[in-house]
Symmetry: C2
Subunit: 569 residues, 2 copies
């Protein structure tokens, strides 16, 4: 079958779809069109190039064996014709043509297609903030921008950077500037937390503490009012709450799908500007495929349309498109939204819904917050990990998992294990019995991910009466009111420092003594039980329950999570 396949966009999905299609249909003519000079690059690697961890920008454009993926490469290695610096200005589905314009000389031409792929991706939001046109302000989404920022960072002239937006790219860039160049960045985020929709408020605060502990200022629930400058270059960011000196501003306030071509061509596009595709990645015109950042695919947790602008999605979808153009019948059923981000000392990762997003979606959602060592506790190299498992109380269905750990791969080993279950209707008990690989250097015999299931089960079964860290913080801050009685369920030795610091408000009753020391707990106060991670405080609560003292609550995550949050204890 000798057909012509035209692919618009050559960053991630485009090259993959083109290569796969050509591999399966050696006789096809495959044309890859992009307005940029550099194609097929790993945009996700930009923060690591900015930091200097990736030495040369060419590494982001290279194959694992070091060949630069330019137009010559696609011709010689893949048999694909790449037209760079060529902008597609219109798609004519009736005539099955695209109109393209040479970026350099403005020459316009028309190219016919049998099958078309829209891999137009997304563009950074550029909010209309006064002063945004000043020099030193811009996004970091393509290689030219990345080179400019790296050059500025390396110049030694940047003393204060501001990142507008506390999403993945914003945080990665703040870490890159701080960790490798020693440039203190301030992150300004419009919503009340970093990584909104990806982390619960609790975990987001833990992530923010990792940033602030390492010199990054994090300002949430704060909006940029204007940028000010001198001699045409930015010097200051003015928010609704403060003025922040800045000689470099990176705009990372999200991205928007590039779907104008699709919309103008009459394809079905959502109000949010996302191209609608079916599981075969076909648009409303069966001769036109689309995928990557510019389309909506099913959120497999909610069943609703979702949006997953992520390089890995684009690659996998590109393969499906390439196969289907070649006569295949492959499906891309949707996503649950797995993600990971490396911060300074900690890594955060997750999949599916957070507690807050699940509640917003109408689920009767509850979260189990657990903290535990990521290996057998006796194994020498280990880290504490925190996990939050989000479940629907009514159906016991698992809706999401998020967490943090100093060991990013150990965290990925848990999140990746739960992610495939989120689209398969798994219940709490599937997590309790989840078979993660065990051996002391890899996991605990009762692994943290199983414990997260067990804790959720104990909450739903009303055995565990949990208290969130935030409520503990509120009650502890109000301890002068003497409404609560704080009991440290750890051994006396471990409780001693808190007891010394707060002799009037903190009480030490080790869990194994709680039944016999019941009379030390005033009947007119509510009992707040705390231990290192929440395990012994749960046991203590059960002991109190059995003794008829039913009001006790166990603080999930214990002192370990309180420290991660920076709670004032």
């Amino acid at each position: 079958m000798s057909i012509r396949v035209v692919v618009i966009g050559a960053v991630a999905l485009g090259p993959k779809a083109a290569s796969r299609c050509k591999r399966l249909l050696p006789d096809a003519e495959v044309v890859l069109i992009d307005q940029g000079s550099r194609i097929s690059y790993g945009g996700c690697g930009i923060p690591y190039f900015v930091s200097g961890e990736v030495n040369r920008v060419e590494e982001l454009q290279s194959t694992p064996y070091g060949a630069i993926r330019d137009a010559d490469f696609f011709k010689s290695h893949k048999g694909v014709t790449a037209m760079t610096r060529t902008r597609c200005t219109a798609v004519n589905p009736a005539a099955k043509t695209v109109t393209v314009e040479n970026v350099d000389d403005g020459a316009v031409s028309t190219i016919g297609y049998d099958k078309l792929v829209l891999a137009t991706g997304s563009s950074p939001n550029r909010p209309p903030i006064p002063g945004i046109e000043l020099e030193g302000i811009g996004p970091a989404t393509n290689l030219d921008e990345a080179e400019a920022i790296r050059a500025e960072a390396a110049s030694g002239k940047i003393n204060n950077a501001v990142v507008v937006g506390g999403g993945f790219i914003g945080l990665e860039l703040a870490v890159a500037l701080g960790d490798m160049w020693g440039i203190p960045a301030a992150v300004v985020e419009l919503t009340d937390q970093i990584l909104p929709n990806f982390l619960s408020g609790t975990l987001a605060r833990m992530a923010a503490k990792d940033l602030t502990d390492n010199g990054v200022s994090v300002y949430t629930a704060e909006s940029v009012q204007r940028f000010e400058g001198e001699n045409g270059r930015v010097t200051k960011v003015v928010t609704n709450k403060r003025e922040i000196p800045a000689d470099l501003v990176i705009m990372a306030a999200g991205v928007r799908p590039n779907s104008r071509l699709a919309k103008d061509a009459g394809l079905v596009v959502t109000d949010r500007g996302l191209i609608v595709v079916n599981e075969k990645m076909e648009t409303s015109d069966p001769d036109i495929y689309a995928g990557g950042d510019c389309v909506t695919i099913t959120n497999q947790v909610t069943g609703k349309p979702g949006w997953y602008p992520l390089g890995s999605m684009a690659n996998r979808q590109g393969r499906v498109i390439g196969s289907n153009i070649a006569g295949g019948d492959e499906r891309f059923p949707g996503a649950v939204g797995s993600w990971g981000v490396k911060l300074f000392e900690q890594n955060a990762a997750g999949a599916g819904l957070t507690l807050e997003s699940a509640l917003r979606e109408g689920f009767d959602a509850v979260k189990a917050h657990v903290e535990q060592i990521d290996k057998a506790h006796f194994y020498p190299e280990k880290n504490l990990m925190v996990l939050e498992l989000v479940v629907d109380a009514a159906s016991r269905r698992v809706l999401g998992i998020q967490g943090m750990c100093a060991d990013g791969n150990a965290l990925a080993a848990r999140v990746n294990a739960v992610a495939p279950l989120l689209s398969r209707g798994a219940l709490v008990e599937d997590i309790s019995n989840l078979e993660v690989l065990y051996s002391p250097p890899f996991a605990a015999a009762m692994d943290i991910v199983n414990v997260a299931g067990n804790v959720a089960d104990n909450i739903l079964g009303k055995r565990l009466n949990p208290m969130s860290q935030e409520e503990f913080e509120r009650r502890w801050a109000a301890r002068a009111d003497k409404k609560d009685f704080f009991v440290d369920a750890r051994v006396a030795r471990d409780a001693a420092p808190m007891l010394d610091k707060y002799p009037d408000d903190w009480h030490s009753i080790p869990q194994d003594q709680i039944a016999e020391r019941l009379d030390e707990i005033p009947k007119d106060k509510e009992v707040v039980l705390v231990c290192n991670t929440g395990l012994r405080s749960f046991e203590a609560q059960l002991n109190l329950d059995a003794a008829g003292r039913k009001d006790a609550r166990s603080v999930m995550g214990g002192i370990s999570s309180a420290k991660r949050l920076g709670i004032d204890i």
Copy 2:
């Protein structure tokens, strides 16, 4: 409900079942019986105690917060009565009693139960090899044995150790002796590979190379004929192939279930000696539960009875038993057999069936063998990982995954992601589209696990014409016959060293030149295509296919896997 629950065996499952049951039924009397002095210990930690990585043996008996789990602990913290040094000699299901004997004074007594839990575990095989009674020969499965071996290792008097058995415990102990004490061990394994049934022959050879590269001798397909000694202490191990000097011999020739009590009580026990339980972990007597190393549970890949003697299984099953005794209705549906083991520089892990075990089970099994970097290739800290995905050609069902990597957690992140799918009928395309979390420090945009799915898909679709490493090795060894034409599809620079070494037999034709250099490939020879990892050799094979040269085959895993195997190139 005030009932009496008796639990026989107090290492892993017993304490868990007892504690969970008591937690849910505070009024129950829960009695935990064990013939040993020390209970509730992490037997899986023994190799790390032997090595010295775990400093004190008490750490294996402690909670994460440092409390020793002895009888006093179970009484004070859990409300469970533990009877140590007490052997159960008989179960009488009709009378609902157990007969126990005090190990020290021989006193016999009878204890009634409402519910009984058999957590009798397993014992090391002690094959009747002449000389096995010599001093210095024994297993390493309990803490006393572990202390004795550690003391001998630390004494400086052990110069040569032999480990009989190349399973998990045997390898972990060989690593422990070599890595931390510098004692060269020899592993003698009866079957033709280490980790039989857990790794393919290919991966087992890679694992063995990691051992031999680090001073451990690995003798497979070799049986111990006798032990010889002097003054009552072992000095030599005589196999059917050699004599090995030995002043310490660790018997790690597998374990057998302890099911005599169950059998004598008339419970249903398989021919292999495994107690039969249903998904609620009830034996054939509904008042008697059993779990852990002494029971058979369903192999969720084959649907047949399986056996998973592993601490993590015991812990999870113990919780199910405890809940069910307390009136719950929890299920333990079976297992797919996830595992991991840390060697010297490499880690191995897997889940489900290997190629060989799948073929033996009657599947039309095929494996995709892939090697790729575990992170974005431009990310600075990274390792090559090898994965083998085992699939059924007829149904496209995924049967298993195994692999090796220097980063154990990175490997776990892939194996754990696939494991939950093995019991859920997942197909090859579910692996191609598997959503592992992505960001350059965690994974590649087209991650190795997805690539494993893609390679399996290309094999099943007859696009990839694969050659195994073993066949490549055979053909390369027979290169003097001039039947094959070996083509290096890498860039000329990378192929140069091989070309210098083998100017007559090795040929360099970079993949992008293969179509135009077709006439360099003799028509009367078969074409063997090789590159670094198998990606470019596949592309080259497709290029040859398109050019009408249909006999070319691509070596899976390329030079990287050949090096892991120690193939003579």
